[in-house]
Symmetry: D3
Subunit: 134 residues, 6 copies
């Protein structure tokens, strides 16, 4: 079961151990500050609860995504307003791994199946969790 | 190989062993009658037939989906006009499991790979079949 | 300036002065109860307010659409749960005219430019308001 | 004839004559730095050239949009890296008016029909040019 | 009221009075044979019929589009299998004008409002009919 | 990490060992020349490079897709202008297998995860590579 949300952040690809020129050489135009509407799709797995017919209550998943993701990343600058990108560059790959870790904490154990994070129309990343018993 | 179709149904989340009030408490606004354009994506697997270059003839798959899915669910009320939701709530999860069972019957053995059922823009479910020899 | 929302309703094409058979002949499968995720796009016109740079505050427009449209149509049956379709069939055309009238009431005079109502992927209607001074 | 492009910018809604607190009260979360993938659709009008069958050569329009829009706004901060938002807030409305002015300059006279600028999935603005002879 | 259909054609930009080399210089890669899934949106205007609540019966419009457009252009080569591009290049503009003429013939007088023809994701053309009494 | 591109080709379903009539019987309307805007999504897998935070540099992947796919298939006729469909029919399945082979050659070993090729809106194919150590 998958739920999609959208958040809006600004960012720049910057390694703080490199000079502005070196960052520009390594990352090209993305070394300058720019922004994205990130589309995030979160998939949880499991059997439907026989009482409700749902793998997970949609309102509950919505509340978790609001609290864990929207409040932290929406209308934020990834480099300056969040603690995760001091030593890592906020590429789609690294941001997806941060989100994966936050959701592994927040969701019941074993429920996170995968996340898909799409910064723009023709580029996205996925992080897939192995099923414990697969 | 995947084919997408769309059908239009009405439904309400309702457990017949509960009172209207209890249903409302359990399911919120979805306890009232509403409707969806369901997007259904059906994926079959296999090697392309050397004669035709196709995993499965598209026209044949289209005919199966017309007969098994469109005729049963399009322009129907899931609760009142189909036999599957007397004891189950027509959540996306439960409807996907009903469709999976209908297609396992109708398709050649081992061909169904997965289905994806999307009731609205930011929410969907998937049912994945294990490959026999995987 | 346009804002898009989505609501989920059930409906049937039915004229109460006709028998079930006559309705079926006139409207085909749409005479049976079915449902849609309606996509509604509401466009307002005007010069941007020099103080805020916006034609209309997005939060204010959102609140109007929530109050006037979502509360009335989302998770409702158009025939049974709303007062507008006793003498009219809830076609996309008629529903769009009802929504137009509700928004002409609720928005500041002269601001409504047009609405676009889309019941499914390949079919939609538009109602365009003439500008007073055009 | 319409061509769509996408650019990625960061921005904050900020009037420099107001304190941070006043900006926050006026603009809410959008007073903080965030970002968008802007979708821009540029429509030119005219009769097809009998020699080429096109209203305007697509490659030429593409070059104009690259030079006038992409170089100025893509991978830029609208407030800090462009000269247009010192006295205006970079709302979608104001950004669309800036782009309209740049394209009126760059396109042959009378060709610009309208632009549509979409900062996110469910919100966009249009600026329509009157035809000289309408 | 608008209905969208999709058809699949092959084509090359070629003026028969020019040599292959001259065509290549004038039209670039599009002088070679290629193909599109054309998305066509046909908009008709009018008041809803009080009997049916529809501007035009959807099934009737569908039948006209099937007969006039799909049979002529779907799974066809625009240059070799249709009579319209002997002296004109099958640009989106010229194809839209051909379709406009076919629909003006086939639809009741005064009903065609506009057509929109989209050869690919980021490029499309529109032909708008003036209302007789506008 | 996935990147999407679009290319435009013409084609016909034709087995050269069969007569035109037999091809028409076997393949229906697709035996005639038609065309598609193919949407191709290429997914590579791996850990993000600690230096750049990316699984693979996007510019590098873009260059490979330009060289291996766009130059070979964009604005080409699959039957007449490419060497792969003399003995195979250019179905989506067979074209996807050709593209898979070209990318297995061009990408670093073990990086190709899967490709998804979509000839039109409601039909697509996927080719998935087994992970070496899975």
């Amino acid at each position: 079961m998958t739920r999609a949300i959208e958040f809006s952040s600004s960012l720049r690809f910057e390694r703080r151990d490199l000079s502005p020129d070196e960052n520009r050489r390594l990352f090209g135009p993305r070394a300058a500050r720019h922004g994205h509407n990130y589309l995030l799709e979160v998939t949880v797995r499991g059997e439907p609860d026989p009482r409700t017919g749902m793998v997970m209550d949609l309102a509950e998943l919505k509340a978790i995504l609001e609290r864990e993701i929207m409040r932290r990343f929406d209308h934020r600058d990834l480099n300056d307003d969040t603690p995760w990108f001091e030593k890592r560059v906020p590429t789609a790959e690294n941001l997806a791994l941060v989100i994966r870790d936050l959701l592994l904490e927040a969701l019941p154990p074993g429920m996170l199946d995968r996340i898909r994070l799409q910064p723009d129309q023709d580029h996205w990343v996925e992080v897939v969790e192995e099923a414990a018993d697969a």
